[in-house]
Amino acid sequence: MPTVKSLEDLKRIREEALQKREIKSTPGSVQIIVGMGTPGIAAGARETLKAILSFIEEQHLTNITVRQTGNIGMDSWEPIVQVQSAENAVVTYGKVTPFAARQIMEQHVLAGKIVTDFVIPA
């Protein structure tokens, strides 16, 4: 890991990290973020994550990054999965069971169609 000795170093690392994010959001790429705080895990986020990963493997998908994050605060809706593609703003799905995850992968990630049934309503 690089060491930080000054504010300039810190800013450089920040720029690099932001750039990496940019590359990740090039057209056609998708970022999937799974909430892995205690409530998410308790509600089955690990199984959801596994379902997403095995879908990617089965379909030999590329250009997809799967990441974890903490709890966003909407415990009633766990497991929560956020899907971000270059084309769409972030879509936040709630109560994403492995079944729901596969549907989201098929319809949203592959076909670009938001699965309204699982979107957390405004």
Partner: protein, 545 residues
Amino acid sequence: MKFKRSMVLVSNDPESLRKGAADVFRAFQLELANFDLTEEISLTQFTDGGREDALPLVIVYPEACAYGPVTVADVKRIVEEHLYKGRQVDDLLAPVKELSGRIGWLKTRKGTLPSEKRVVLRRAGRIDPENIDDYIADEGYQALAKALSLTRMQVIEELEEAGLQGRGGAGFPTGRKWRFVGATKSPKKYVVCNADESEPGTFKDRVILEGDPHSILEAMAIAGFAVGANEGYIYVRGEYQLAQYRLEKAIHQAREMGLLGENIFESGFNFDIHVHSGAGAYVCGEETALLESIEGKRGEPRARPPYPTTHGLWGKPTVVNNVETLANVPAIILNGAEWYRGLGTPSSPGTKTYTILGNVNFKGLIEVPMGITLREVINIYGQGIVPGQSFKMAQTGGSSGSIIPASLQDTPMDFESFRKAGVSLGSGALLICDERTCIVDLAITLMKFFKFESCGKCTPCRVGTDRALRILTAISQGQAHLDDLDTLLKLADEMELASNCGLGQTAAVPIRDTLKYFRAEVEAHIRLGVCPTGVCDMASELEMA
């Protein structure tokens, strides 16, 4: 209660009343009835409407649409256009700059999703907590760099100006605490983060630790620099293993990058952090018991004074701050005290996190500006009381808070307003109870908790909680007498006056609140042998007989 699709609030502070708010309120009653909307729209009053020019202010939820100044003549249009036809009346809207921070905040909300303006929960649920690059990409460690370019005193002054108060329950001004520790001459000082979080139903600190661990490390380093400490401890509740794992990982990454350790940012400042696991005792959240526990002793509160600011960990001056308190620090250093004061109320700046639990439709963790009312939290964030029920009371702060009756649900939730109303915010748990909850049953649950968690060191708490529990249990079984209530109050007095720490002192609160707000319900148990809600066992026995 029928489902209310909308809520109308009319301001009723003295200035609004002077300008005719009472007539506006009556006009709303009349017009809502004229349009046959009383069933589906609730009408209430509120205070803290922002600046004077917009008063009387009328807010319509869920849109958080603010009209003001509103006159009686405007009411018909608002009801007809907005509430009946669903069209906002643009020319009556209050100018945005006249609104208080809280209404501005509510306006930026996007449905159920959290506001983008969150402060302490800004990164939770958005960044990868196990990846330091993610934190740095989101302005991480910039506040530390900035603090190290200032003087120690400037950092403390910024915090004092921001008016940050402790979020661990007591609300002590953080800047002042740091000043006390900073002023001591000891060559060795400590910064301790209180992450014991053992109040039932409170999990805000866990969300921060699991979702944004670096923010706590950064804040502790800033505190260390400001007070002249080079070592910190995070005392984490034993059950929080995921939080401990992520903290350890974060510390490791920060050390690798030189953001913890020696000569940080080449400033000559050294700081390192250890994680210490608790082992399941509630009392170890009390700061002096916590220090004993870190020292490897039995977790019992010390006698105070002296306070930890002069005699803390291993007898050295020590800052003890709650996780949420610390999570505010980098944002304040980076954005300045004035920005922070723009959130919340003048006497309680900033935001507060609340865990919403109980009989509401949405449960979870929210962050809102100080000064929001309980009614707003229940209706906007909790999405209302569960169908078919109505609000009876809320219990704040896990167990060491207050019981808030329906009559206080329009009190702004900030330290000062709550103190004036004789209730306390506690740690930020909001247990919402509907009419099916029995007050005696609730009091028993709380007292059982205190009795179980009493460390036993001092008599008032050890014996007092036990005796109070016996009396409350007798009440719930229809075996108590009216003078037992006097004994309960006397016990409350003694526990409050003579207990060595906050545990025994707050054990008195549920007794007092119960008898202050719900005495009739308690007396029904005693006089009539009936539990009005049908929760306590004796009621069913009576029915069977």
